[in-house]
Point group: C2
Chain length 334, copies 2
DNA sequence: TCCTAGCATGCAAACGATTGCAACCGATCG
DNA sequence: CGATCGGTTGCAATCGTTTGCATGCTAGGA
């Protein structure tokens, strides 16, 4: 808890002016090498650290990117965040992260707060209403939207069309003709995309697709168990791995064999997915890459360019033991 | 992306001086109510938002708390973060979060960076060496350490003594006399504490305690499988739930019945723990509370007081199906 | 020797907000 | 009727840094 050393202290100690010190430290070229060396030495000795607040204030542009995330607990989000952090840092920016707890109102509040501190905003799987989202986009800073399509903003997303096709083709390959989708939060754009692309692909593959509402957590998956069991589907696709794992747990508790009686597959492939019982077939995507692309879009835009076209990331299906040959008919009990 | 409205713009529009506007907006009492109302109205209409950088710069104190976390992916961390965020926000502070990826060198870098932007630091389960940690504590801002004991800083931690006792008493109650601990990262202070308190309690309960090294992720648990199998223990305690789940997965893959042949229990009780196969017996702690306590310590300190004594949080054992009666002898195979 | 070019340095303004202090107002009191 | 006082308001300094511009110095050419 020592006293703060300021530029003027370094200047005094080095016997020069503050401008000289500033220039020496910032590597200006109109200053003699000896002075630079001397000033640097003195600054180091005094333990000088520029006051970032003053610096950014003077420079006028905030080197901070505000990020909203629905749920930090979900590894999907935190891994994308990892990629984003790294990329932003190498661009000299840092991240201010806010978690909305899957609540649109809270997300709006967050945006409102973050915009005060940030030179750019990244909305991650935004749960905002269309209206709320447009209001957010209208902020006086550039906005990138991850996993949600929107105009006048940068967009980076998973290619759900390809994703859904991979999933369904895998299942039809195993003989499944009737598939149930356990959905995510109603506020989730990507849930809408999953449904839309699943429906479309199901039609083209001549698969019957049923849908029920679910949520985003293990609990939601567990609670969906009874409904799943009573459906006539031979395979289930869940909104994400957490839901899938919850569902597997219910199925196990209730004696339903996976995949003998029912196949389960999911989106995201979070690390824990390979440790569920049985391990979950899921769609892997390069999550860190997603974050990096978001930064790329942002930095182009900050550089003055227009928004590039949306980046779409194609996932890859990781087949594990939770999917298998379709039974002729699902056993109904309870 | 509109133009920024500044204080002076509001002043001009309202026909007063900037000082008046500033005071009106900040609720100073030496200003007439009508002027306040008028200025507020004008400001609202113009969409004025104070430049936080300028504001904080002028005020001199950064309203930011820098936080380092080993791994955002781990729900344990993200939930504590939730509590911390909420508490800090109600105190007018916001969080700058950095993830070290379990790497001490990276953590040191982070601390170095965060301190430039923050009025306080929270080190979460710091993986720093003692020396590194002391260097971090010596920063010109107050530091709170979560889950790691250290002098001249605020400390909030889980009561591992109580935790280890709960675990071992549960196991001895089931007849286990030989327990294996699968450890965490060598850099983790809390791993050290778990070992220390387990040893001590094991001695007092007349339990034989073996230890092996592990890590912090599901992979580490899975990889520990063979060693676990060949040990003579009838029960295993893992560093955390992720390790526990990984281990359960290996045991399943290799036909070891849990808990019939081997019991597994763990620390942390993250949400997914109840969905492992079998559900994991684990130690629940009020994670959000941990974050709130950290903020409480910090705000006291920021208020000028000395550091309060460490806060210790007592966990609660959640017994699930992964622990059961001890077998007379573990089957050895492979 | 003097002038000039060119490099190195310092002075001072600026970023946008807050705040101590002075100035001003009308009203009250002596 | 003038001084005083309480209550409002504006002026100007200030936070720490960057940077345009002026200035001083040195060296080289005429």
């Amino acid at each position: 808890m020592a006293e703060r050393v300021r530029l003027i202290d370094v200047a005094r100690e080095a016997g020069t002016s503050v401008s000289t010190v500033s220039r020496a430290l910032n590597g200006s070229d109109l200053i003699s090498p000896e002075v630079v060396a001397h000033v640097r030495a003195v600054a180091g000795q005094l333990g000088y650290r520029a006051d970032k607040r003053a610096q950014e204030f003077k420079l006028g542009r905030p080197l901070t990117v505000g990020v909203t995330v629905p749920d930090l607990t979900n590894p999907f989000f935190s891994e994308v965040l990892k990629g984003l952090t790294g990329a932003a840092r190498s661009g000299g920016y840092r991240l201010l992260i806010g978690e909305s707890g899957e609540d649109p109102a809270e997300e709006l509040r967050l945006v409102d707060e973050l915009v005060d501190y940030s030179g750019a905003l990244v909305l991650f799987s935004s749960r905002l209403t269309r209206q709320g989202l447009e209001k957010a986009i209208a902020q006086p800073v550039p906005v990138v939207s991850i996993n949600r399509n929107v105009k006048n903003a940068g967009v980076v997303a998973i290619d759900y069309r390809a994703a859904s096709r991979l999933l369904l083709e895998h299942l039809t390959g195993l003989g499944h003709r009737r598939v149930l989708y356990v959905g995510g939060p109603a506020t989730s754009w990507s849930d809408g995309e999953r449904r839309r692309t699943l429906r479309r692909t199901a039609r083209s593959l001549d698969v019957t697709l049923d849908e029920i509402d679910g949520g985003w957590s293990g609990n939601h998956g567990y609670d969906a168990g009874p409904t799943v069991l009573h459906s006539r589907a031979t395979a289930v696709i869940t909104f994400n791995d957490l839901v899938g794992i919850g569902l597997l747990s219910w199925l196990y508790d209730n004696g339903v064999e996976v995949p003998a009686e029912l196949s389960v597959a999911s989106y995201d492939d979070i690390p824990i997915a390979s440790y569920s019982r049985p391990p979950l077939t899921s769609l892997r995507n390069e999550r860190a890459k997603l974050g990096e692309l978001a930064w790329e879009q942002l930095s182009k835009r900050l550089g003055g360019a227009d928004w590039p076209p949306p980046d779409l990331l194609t996932p890859e299906l990781v087949v594990r033991a939770s999917t298998g040959q379709a039974r002729r008919r699902v056993r109904i009990r309870g």
